[in-house]
Symmetry: C2
Subunit: 482 residues, 2 copies
């Protein structure tokens, strides 16, 4: 197993498993816990410099394990990032993008028709062949129609929701998001699973924690290797926390949500220790994309020193907090920088790429002037002239190049005339050409929306008396709020 | 000794000493090492989230000791901050300011007539009464005329310079900065003590390290309690490092300087351990002001998530990296937030103050439009409308208030109409009134400049053949570049 590879991104788990599985006479493969945060930023961890230092359990996990300061999501938005994490493939390959508009971020709202294609092989399906039991707890976000159900893509169990918990809706024009246990809906957000938008109170993280602990205990008693994908969403607006954590943070409600998650991670690791599983369980913590600065400061986190946040291909959008923990196997320390290019996409547009410490932006924009003037701001208080643009600026001939070591905040573009710029450009060219020459874009999954495919009547709704009448089919091109 | 107090600022050392000294039958007082950085930013330490993680020794010092995420300098500029550190008094009290212009940052260039007044009692003078030997290594910056010499204000030894090492000068119009050993100049920067502006090579940090190690060894053999003030300046532009460290950092030349200092701190702590002094030596690490973003990214550091830098009263200007280390006495952990107001001054203008987590700005400006348009930028890539102003904006009636827990980057002013704003304003008023009612401003020391008082012919210059003829006296009002 090459843990150094982990520093460069999303291929981590496949590599890990490939290395640990299948050998004749190999020891029992490790259990795998993947703790995936929602809109949590690089700068939200004490160990990454959050000034209020309210993540003692994650900080301890980092001290005992390996901290990756240069770990990237494959997309600055939730669904494509999650698809990449579970498939090991860029969204442009798996189809988790839209081609409806250039440089368009896209995710899977209730109206979307598409989802994870059957042709994609997900981590839990690979692990199943190796004898693993797999569970997803929390947010799926890879499509909500029956063919996209997580139990059709390798998971054995599910407790959570297919879409994001924002809302609430009025139960008629747009159904509230269902919560599933395995194949059946067991209620809906804001109904059986309340989230109080006024107080921020919700018990969901505690439910997700209970599901995780229960699954670990059960697999332990069965002595079966397990994969747990713990995809909590309390740090996605509207952020929430359970009553004991509300008001517990110096950082407001967002901090309350972080504290509850941090506490939960501490309990999960403690259970592993109590069950004697710490030597046989690989735990990885990261987030799906950068903090949503549009929701800051009350409902959004921190990207530390990095520029902008969620929805952008600046570092604040895609550089993630990341910790690997496996006592006795993963040495304590910090991840080394790997000289492997990172490709930053929005939709099917290659916005930026790295070569070593140099990052080149081929296209810049955050959002439109129209949206910006309406108050949608992915870079509040951060304006780098010619960089954080509100029109789609093409720089493919002369990309804007930054040195991420000297300038992690992407505030000082190199001079085009400098020898360093010319040299970086020479290195970037072949890496990008090779990438593009071998790239086969997948069929775009996020182009078509249809109000009829929403969560009107998920399986199980009859038992609960919660089926809603679906409207007539009305397919249309998806459009995205920003 | 109340270490919690340390979190709030510059009274730390006096309190520490007062607590440890003078009691009948008290044990030998602790040795004190004060490691003061020059223009190093909060975000330059790995433990504070610097992404390249190149400060393993400081990170270890923080892990073994106490890290203060909320530690403040008393000024965003070198000389006033250093005066405050050694006197325990705000610069407005000690006289380390100018009244020549409103909100004017000021320091002690070679032309300045003033310096540390005899009426101020410095830490080494207090410690001398308790039997301590004291040495300053590095930059003094509290006045360079004979009456301001550090050995006249409590120090027993000095190796270093009275002013900052920027230059070089031409040796006639403005003398290069002298380097002293005790009472006599032993050479000048760029002459006997070379700093290669092109390559960044200089051996000064190694000299300063050697002086520190030698002093500690000597005092140990004499069994005398000691105070070492290690005020290195490699991270002040022009930044420098010795040859083994040049090119060693992912962060460029600034990072090379940080790495060399980090290595030196590791060696100093190792010596304490080797000599068995770790249980009897209190070590404190901090910086004089925020990173100089005007010099970034090649010659300036990082203020992490905080707004702006040196010269400003935003958090980036005055919140400092800070670590206390004293195994067995200072518990490992992180400093707690103390509910004690912080007062942010530029010159004699109270720019801002805190009450709990709320910070109110009574005046805003960074620098003038004229300077800004010439490229002098204390907040590159950071523009918060109405906050990072280029005119002197008065907000005393309705201050701009930020919640530093939710919004450490000071990017989201509270709404004037909010209950939170009104409540914060009610708490801020009495704290500011009490401060101002009891404040007795000192005689301003930094008002008068005179080319004749420069370092033309410091004591010792005759032996070296390096005396320069001073020009006629020409007193004038000091003016400051920005």
């Amino acid at each position: 197993m090459s843990l150094a590879v982990a520093a460069t991104g999303w291929r981590l788990l496949l590599l890990l498993c490939a290395a640990g599985l299948g050998a004749v006479g190999a020891p029992q493969p490790p259990n795998i816990l993947l703790l995936l945060m929602d809109d949590m930023g690089w700068g939200d961890l004490g160990v990454n410099g959050e000034p209020s230092r309210e993540t003692p359990n994650l900080d301890r996990m980092a001290a005992e394990g390996m901290l990756f300061p240069n770990f990237y999501a494959a997309s600055p938005l939730c669904s494509p990032s999650r698809a990449a994490l579970l498939t090991g493939r860029l969204p442009i390959r798996s189809g988790f993008y839209t081609s409806n508009a250039r440089a368009r971020n896209a995710y899977t709202p209730q109206e979307v028709v598409g989802g994870i294609p059957d042709s994609e092989r997900l981590l839990p399906a690979l692990l199943k062949k190796a004898g693993y039991a797999s569970k997803i707890v929390g947010k799926w976000h890879l499509g909500h129609r029956p063919q996209f159900h997580p139990l059709r893509h390798g998971f054995d169990e599910w407790f959570g929701s297919p879409n994001c918990h924002f809302g609430p809706y009025d139960n008629r024009a747009r159904p509230n998001i269902p919560v599933y246990r395995d194949w059946e809906m067991v209620g809906r957000y804001y109904e059986e699973f309340p989230i109080n938008l006024k107080t921020g109170e919700a018990n969901l993280t505690q439910l997700y924690l209970g599901e995780a602990l229960d699954f670990i205990r059960r697999q332990r008693s069965l002595r079966r290797p397990f994969f747990l994908y713990w995809a909590v969403d309390a740090t996605h607006a509207p952020v929430y926390a359970s009553r004991p954590f509300l008001g517990s943070s110096q950082r407001g409600r967002y901090g309350d949500a972080v504290r509850e998650i941090d506490d939960s991670v501490g309990r999960i690791l403690a259970l592993l220790r109590d069950l004697g599983l710490q030597d046989s369980t690989f735990v990885f913590f990261t987030s799906d994309n950068g903090a949503a600065l549009i929701s800051a400061p009350k409902q959004g986190g921190s990207n530390g020193p990095f520029l902008c946040g969620k929805e952008t291909t600046f570092e604040g959008g895609m550089r993630e907090p990341a910790i690997a923990w496996w006592p006795g196997h993963v040495p304590a320390g910090q991840g080394q920088l790997i000289n492997r290019p990172i490709f930053y996409y929005r939709g099917n547009t290659l916005m930026a790429a790295t070569a070593g410490q140099h990052k080149a932006h081929f296209w810049t924009w955050t959002n439109s002037w129209e949206e910006f003037q309406q108050g949608v701001d992915f870079c509040p208080g951060q304006n780098v002239s010619g960089v954080t643009t509100h029109t789609q600026e093409e720089h493919t001939a002369l990309p804007l190049i930054f040195h991420l070591g000297r300038d992690p905040g992407e505030r000082f573009p190199l001079s085009f005339a400098s020898a360093e710029y010319q040299e970086a450009l020479r290195r970037l060219g072949p890496a990008v050409q090779q990438h593009q020459a071998t790239l086969q874009p997948g069929q775009p999954q996020l182009n078509v929306c249809n109000v009829a495919v929403m969560n009107w009547a998920p399986p199980g709704c009859e038992k609960l008396g919660k089926c809603l009448p679906p409207p007539p089919s009305a397919p249309e091109k998806c459009s995205w709020p920003h």
